[in-house]
């Protein structure tokens, strides 16, 4: 057991830290879930790309640095520590890209990965439909074969599509074989949103931003080279994408460590009020719990990355990670609001907005009820 980073990893950390110190915007950007804020965040994404930080773990030929998972974790720690902006291109970078690496053709890799890294292709995620949320295999959007067009005609509706109103591509599942049922006969498509037949309508989220969208598709022609993985085998590809979303690549520990550090700072500011009984005395314990949870999440991730480095696959255990980070994030923010007391509603330092976002964590990426089902059935082996 060795919990030290190597000198090359330390040097990498120092390099990231120095760059972040010199480049992270001094004041927070407007929310990336608004049109104006999204544009500002894109400038930042491109600045990251120009400096080679957009996708550190990818091979250099696709715009990355070929960094190990350990270095990627370090990058993330430094990124969030520096208070850098949210990654508005995360769906492409962290969810779709791992699936392209695993299932894409060489042409698809060459075409998509560099453009995702450069934030030219901005992907949104098209799983959910009005009648298919947790039950993703129940989607009804369909793709009908059109040999003359050299591909498929897509029809249907996607919903809750994060930042769909600002993106130019969508990845999602469509039924290619109407005679098969449930997760058989689905295919994974990459769909340009500027095509004929696509209508996107922004939908205001709980926090008031247009972070959601509805995407309507009416006979949208999509060529064969835009199917990821094999036709009718899209479920497998989709599961690899959702595994990234549950676990490591979307929610590295750095984000929660930074939030926990901010929480401890907030506690220090409010300590007198806590000790005087003006605020709930139990907040001290809640703060330390949140800090310890971030610490535990980090250690558990180290364990996971060790196993992955040894060649093991991250399977259903990703559901443990999703449960842990999403519940930690909610209680961390609830604790912050408690510390703010009557000022919580003023959204001091973005805590209220952060709280509203944290509340989505147990819902998206597969609800926590679904994750508990997965743990029970696939980790513990309980009967369905």
């Amino acid at each position: 057991m060795d919990l030290r980073f190597s000198s090359s990893e330390d040097a990498f950390r120092a390099e990231v830290r120095a760059w972040m110190d010199g480049n992270v915007p001094a004041s927070p950007l407007p929310s990336g879930d608004t049109a104006e804020g999204f544009a500002a965040h894109l400038d930042w994404e491109r600045q990251l790309f120009d400096a080679g930080w957009a996708a550190v773990s990818w091979p250099e030929e696709y715009g990355g640095r070929g960094a190990t998972l350990w270095k990627w974790l370090i990058f993330e720690e430094e990124y969030w520590r520096a208070g850098a902006p949210n990654r508005v291109n995360q769906n492409g970078l962290f969810l779709l890209a791992p699936s392209i690496f695993a299932f894409g053709t060489d042409e698809q890799k060459a075409r998509f990965l560099p453009k995702i890294a450069a934030s030219e292709y901005l992907f949104c995620q098209g799983w959910s439909e009005p009648n298919a949320g947790s039950d993703l295999a129940g989607i009804t959007s369909r793709a009908v074969r059109d040999d003359a067009a050299g591909g498929w005609r897509l029809t249907g509706q996607k919903t809750w599509t994060t930042r769909g109103a600002f993106c130019n591509w969508l990845f999602g599942l469509f039924r290619t074989d109407p005679d098969q049922e449930r997760h058989r006969g689905l295919s994974y498509f990459l769909v340009p949103l500027d095509g004929e037949g696509v209508t996107v309508r922004p939908v205001g989220r709980l926090d008031g931003d247009d972070g959601f969208a509805e995407v309507f598709l009416e006979d949208v022609v999509v060529t064969d080279d835009l199917v990821l993985g094999e036709v009718d085998q899209g479920w497998r590809v989709a599961m690899s994408t959702t595994s990234s979303e549950r676990g490591l690549s979307l929610r590295s520990p750095g984000r929660f460590m930074a939030a926990a550090t901010q929480l401890t700072a907030l506690y220090r500011e409010q300590r007198d009020a806590v000790e005087a009984g003006l605020l709930d005395p139990g907040l001290r314990d809640a703060v330390v719990r949140a800090w310890m949870d971030a610490d535990a999440y980090r250690l558990h991730t180290f364990r996971t990355v060790t196993r992955m480095t040894d060649g093991e696959e991250l399977g259903a255990e990703a559901s443990f990670m999703k449960l842990f980070w999403s519940e930690l994030d909610v209680s961390l923010h609830e604790t912050a609001l408690g510390l703010l007391g009557p000022e919580a509603e003023l959204d001091v330092d973005g805590w209220m907005k952060g709280y509203q976002f944290s509340l989505a964590g147990p819902i998206y990426a597969g609800t926590n009820e679904i994750q508990r089902n997965v743990v029970a059935e696939r980790v513990l082996g309980l009967p369905r």
Binding site: M1, D2, L3, R4, F5, S6, E9, D10, R13, W70, E77, E78, R81, M257, A260, T261, T264, A265, Y267, R268, R271, R284, D285, V287, V288, R289, W291, M292, D295, A296, Y297, R298, L299, H300, F302, R303, V305, T306, R307, T309, D310, E317, F320, L323, F324, E369, Q371, R372, N373, V375, A376, E377, V379, L380, G381, L382, P383, R384
Partner: protein
């Protein structure tokens, strides 16, 4: 960076697990409630033979010269089996403490503890409120290591031999724990180490007990999962009901995150760092995870789990004893709070710590 036990460490834990499956089945644990010393006859000798007691002891004293990192996986297995043996007190606390003190004391006691000739009891935690410390195995021990406020007014470790103490038995909820109040006088002659050594000894006790708790919790979870697959109601296994699944998934989640912090606690003890902080984190997680596993196990078993004929209570009661024997989870979180919240800003910054 490599956060996993070595192959040797895994092999050692597996060997102990095999031994305990043979020599310490649930019936043996149950039997220990009735034996005079609360132990499984002959089991300590087997552990001695395997070298478990001397894992952390210096080779010159008959030990293996290994460390807490080698012992931690073994302790998880002793917890899993609910082995009613003083592995924490002797192997994880007394032996390394005496080895640290060194000199004649170590030369006398460590070899005899490691070879099983002598027995030790450890009472480093003050009880809450007035009265004497309540110490496990105090009446049977040849030597006692006790924490006390000495003549200097500072916390110290004292070593007293059996003749110098009077013990009064106290019953534990866990019938295999032989507890006694210890009446004794600290003197300058009994003092063997100061505050710092006392602290390290407690930190070792915390990490070791946390490892045992993780094992106890894991065993209850595993057993309950098996039960839920077999027991049928409404024509199907109860494990197919979602309420039951979610209880079990939540218990599994707690244990999944407790193990890494326990291992890190051991790592910090061996390689340095804030041992009090990391051992307290280990204990806080393990205590809560094991407690929840017990609650869950009982609920999922229903009335059968509420009997003394069924084995579950043996594990559950051990958890109830150990989850607060070295300070409860809230106490340990407060230890962490003092370091993370009350010390200078930056002390809680993970990344700087590793830079240094």
């Amino acid at each position: 960076m490599r956060f996993a036990p070595t192959d040797d460490q895994i092999a050692l834990a597996d060997a102990v697990s095999d031994l305990l499956m043979r020599e310490c089945p649930p019936d043996a644990v149950r039997g220990a409630w009735e034996t005079p010393d609360g132990r499984v006859p002959g089991l300590w000798d087997r552990l001695v033979e395997m070298g478990v007691v001397g894992i952390c002891a210096a080779e010159e004293h008959g030990g293996l010269g290994l460390s807490m990192l080698d012992l931690v996986g073994v302790l998880v297995e002793t917890g899993r089996a609910a082995a009613p043996e003083p592995v924490v007190d002797v192997a994880a606390v007394a032996v390394p403490l005496l080895d640290d003190v060194g000199g004649e004391l170590a030369g006398t006691w460590v070899p005899s503890l490691v070879s099983g000739e002598a027995s030790a009891a450890v009472g480093l935690e003050r009880g809450v409120g007035a009265g004497n410390a309540v110490v496990e195995n105090a009446a049977a021990a040849d030597v006692l290591l006790l924490g006390a406020t000495g003549v200097s007014g500072d916390a110290e470790v004292h070593l007293v031999e059996a003749e110098a103490v009077t013990t009064t038995d106290r019953a534990s909820v866990d019938g295999s724990r032989r507890l006694a109040e210890v009446d004794w006088e600290p003197t300058s002659a009994t003092r063997i180490a100061g505050r710092e050594a006392l602290g390290v000894a407690r930190d070792r006790g915390n990490v070791a007990t946390a490892a045992v708790l993780v094992g106890l919790g894991a065993a209850m979870l595993e057993r309950t999962v098996e039960y839920a697959k077999e027991r049928e109601q409404f024509g199907k296994p109860i494990g197919s009901f979602q309420a039951v699944k979610h209880h079990l998934a939540t218990a599994a989640l707690g244990l999944e995150y407790a193990r890494p912090v326990v291992d890190r606690g051991a790592y910090t003890l061996v390689y340095g760092g804030d041992t009090r902080r990391d051992s307290s984190i280990a204990m806080a997680y393990a205590a809560e995870a094991a407690h929840l596993a017990g609650r869950t196990a009982l609920q999922v078993h229903g009335a059968i789990g509420y009997t003394v004929e069924y084995d579950l209570h043996l594990w559950m009661k051990r958890v109830w004893a150990l989850e607060s024997a070295w300070g409860d989870a809230a106490f340990h979180r407060e230890q962490v709070a003092r370091r993370v919240l009350d010390s200078s800003p930056g002390a809680q910054d993970w990344t700087d710590k590793e830079h240094a």
